[in-house]
Symmetry: C4
Subunit: 285 residues, 4 copies
């Protein structure tokens, strides 16, 4: 029983280090992990540059193996120190961790899976988890909450833009011929969105007067249309900004810490919480 308790104590400490950022050790672990992730993404980038890869192929491969092994250890440590491992394995970040660790192993088993190696760049997603420390800072949470509130309006807006693009793209396909690059309706729709969003690559451009006239109208439309998401988001920011200073706030912000439930790994517990709000397990102090 004493040994059992000790065992639990060891797992609990590991859990605190890996999943949380309250303790000094936990903070150091997170900082090291961020550095490791950024370093591994740099490796992936350098590998993709032919001239660098040609010269330093072996060095890069060895470094990549070191990083991958460290990530593998971390992955298993995460599984071991949690009480319900399946909760972690099938959670969003559990899958991200798995997918960003496996490609190097797969590249030896499967032929043609070299392309999978680039998938490792999605390791960057893991940075967002580690940024628990930042995530709950006022700035990021205000941004997120404003964007969330704008979501419905922006969806309606994007939907209307898409229908408009399909119709204008078809019109341009009829008006302009193959010579100008409008070879099919999907290509024309692609061009329409390139124009509406004011990106304007110029790989496809109208050459007939009537095509240029329609293009002009699309551009002016895009000019006006860009005002819509800006307007929506600005108003939401404005609201949040006022709420912060007044006392008429509708949403309440409570201070959450970086603790994760040792059973189900849910995060975002209140500072004064003693039980997980998701599964009711007792939280470590």
């Amino acid at each position: 029983m004493d040994k059992e308790e000790k065992n639990i104590g060891w797992k609990q400490r590991l859990h605190e280090i890996i999943y949380e950022a309250d303790t000094p050790m936990g903070k150091w672990f997170d900082i090291l992990l961020i550095i490791l992730i950024l370093f591994s993404v740099l490796l992936i980038m350098l590998e993709s540059v032919k001239s660098i890869d040609a010269e330093y192929h072996n060095t890069l491969l060895i470094l990549e193996w070191i990083v991958t092994i460290l990530f593998t250890i971390e992955y298993f440590a995460r599984i071991i120190c949690i009480k319900k491992p399946t909760r972690y394995i099938f959670s969003f970040y559990g899958i991200v961790d798995f997918l960003s660790t496996i490609p190097l192993y797969l590249s030896y088993i499967l032929a043609g899976s070299q392309v999978l190696l680039a998938v490792r760049a999605f390791r960057l997603l893991r940075v967002f988890r580690i940024l628990k420390l930042v995530q709950f800072l006022g700035e990021a949470s205000q941004l997120k909450s404003a964007l969330k509130a704008s979501r419905a309006k922006i969806t309606v807006f994007l939907f209307a833009v898409l229908i408009l693009s399909v119709m204008l793209g078809t019109l341009m396909y009829i008006v302009e011929g193959d010579e100008a690059g409008f070879t099919s309706i999907p290509t024309s729709i692609y061009w329409t969105i390139v124009t509406l969003t004011t990106v304007g690559y110029g790989d496809i451009a109208p050459i007939t007067p009537q095509g240029q006239l329609i293009a002009t109208i699309i551009m002016l439309l895009g000019y006006g249309i860009i005002a819509v998401p800006t307007g929506i988001v600005t108003v939401e920011f404005g609201k949040r900004s006022k709420k912060g200073s007044g006392d008429e706030s509708v949403e309440h912000f409570v201070h959450v810490n970086t603790q994760a439930c040792p059973v189900c790994a849910k995060e975002g517990h209140r500072d004064d919480a003693t039980h997980c709000y998701n599964c009711g397990s007792i939280l470590n102090e």
Copy 2:
């Protein structure tokens, strides 16, 4: 008389299904129609891709015939079950329905009307009608009302932008020669709008120092000018957003249902309406 009544009852039920979305049948009809429209637009897109059309020409043609026949049946059903068919036929959506159904038939009668086939993409406009369910949601109606209120200001603004573009375009035509692509004043105006709206294809670009200087000024102008529609729309959104929460609202929103008048096909009746607000006919419950 009994038979007559039964007949009316049959038409009334069909009317409810096709024109409205209160009943389960009416909702299913709308969902099926949206799927059919999106499927038919997909067909049109695939047809326009040469490589796909070359291989699956016959399959695509057969599917297109099935879709067209279904739309034809729907078109006649709409005419039959309404009391004043001319109201529907000459309404905006009546014309859209007609124009998006006829091209396939015409392509056999008229030579060279192949181009008309692309007109079928305008079937997408029909999606907006079916979105009766969405159209009256707060989000879309707020967006629409804000854009409507901005219309006058944006028109004045676009008018000024157009006059400016004509003058700057002419100036660039004088400064730059044919070599840079400024072959005529209309082309120069096209380039000016491409630049002012920050699209910037690069198919035409100034090459002389003085031309590049003027281009620079046009770009900075465009940079400032883009602020105007954004400012207008943002302020309108802000007003609407405040109205919603305060009690000083000027516009009143009533709940409208998806019923359509069986006589004149007008939509947007209040929930408690018993007569059509347009022609006074008694509405179906």
Copy 3:
């Protein structure tokens, strides 16, 4: 003296027709003039298209002569019916009128002044004067007043953007070589503004990794910088919008009519004005 009075009466009526838009005749004159100006600008555009000019050169020349003669008559009529002609001749619009009428005559006297013909497009500026009817509408005047109030801030902003562009342009000139198109510092500055304003022609684009890195930073800067004029203008619009509805307005708007002083041609008199606010002359009723 009777004859004199009659003479003055004749001039006064002409003045009312040409300079003002209160009377039915005055309105008709303005509408006709706008049509004539737009028509003449269309002529200039068509002339610049080589294929059209080749075929219809004579027709276009004759029409241009008719328009020029009408403008010449109007120019002299404007001088005759005003009491102090020099005020008109050296006013902004007096010079515009002169410059947009003279080129066709000059093209026969001076060789190589063909290019001057395009100057005629500046006739469009005259449309703004005629739009007296529109100019004082709430929409345009609100836009103008908001832009005027933003002027100082936007000037400071543009000044900072220009200094930034010169420095970033020089940096790119050092980093990128001639091969990428950065042939001189002015060209590099041109490219920097093309990038900062998100126009992006692509006629010049960085090819070295370090150049692309700096370009990336410039783009993200431009992304943030575009927020500044938008923010400035939006806030000004917002102020104006609130003023309109509240009673805490600082600026007072009085209704002005389209009368012009018969002596000094100043416009924008109050409806109840009996004397010109500029020179004190008695205004026509």
Copy 4:
């Protein structure tokens, strides 16, 4: 002691002229310096244009020498008339002054330092110092304070955009091949930022249907994302604009003059200040 005092008086007067802009002499010095800086930047630009440099190389070199000598004199004068020269020498503007004066001398000592000559363009930074007169104007200080307040939010935003760009860039590298120009992950990331910021050079553009589909999504994302910095800045401007007119202001603005501390060269002293707020030295009246 009398002589000493006179000596101090002489230095004090020089200090007033060079570092401050209260006295007529000080103002004239600043205006002359701005003209000299702008002139020298113009020289650098002209030198970089090959055709101009070929023809006027000697004239430009002589003028450059004159400017450099004047700047050298100014640099030493700044050191002499300040009580603690090291404070100036290692201050930001001290380093800028040094770096923008030294290149011409270095170009004779070191081979290959010709490129350093372009560094002289950073002289433009000095304009900002001289603009003490403008810097404290309400406009510029409001702009600066709004941008400062937005800094935290914009940093979070840029951070998220960068992570997004790396992941989307990697995705495009996998989807598109070398033919389209996506030769490495860094290049793909460059392309992603070019697209997200709606710059769109078109030097690299997707050619496969799936690549164009992802590009379309990136563009629409960029369209929405551009709303975020605009929203942030607009709200900050709005706050500042309200503060100015209301009495609920949190920040207090005091009138500062253009005096600089004769000992530590700190600027921004209150009009009624008698001691430097940084080092406590007595300020010249």
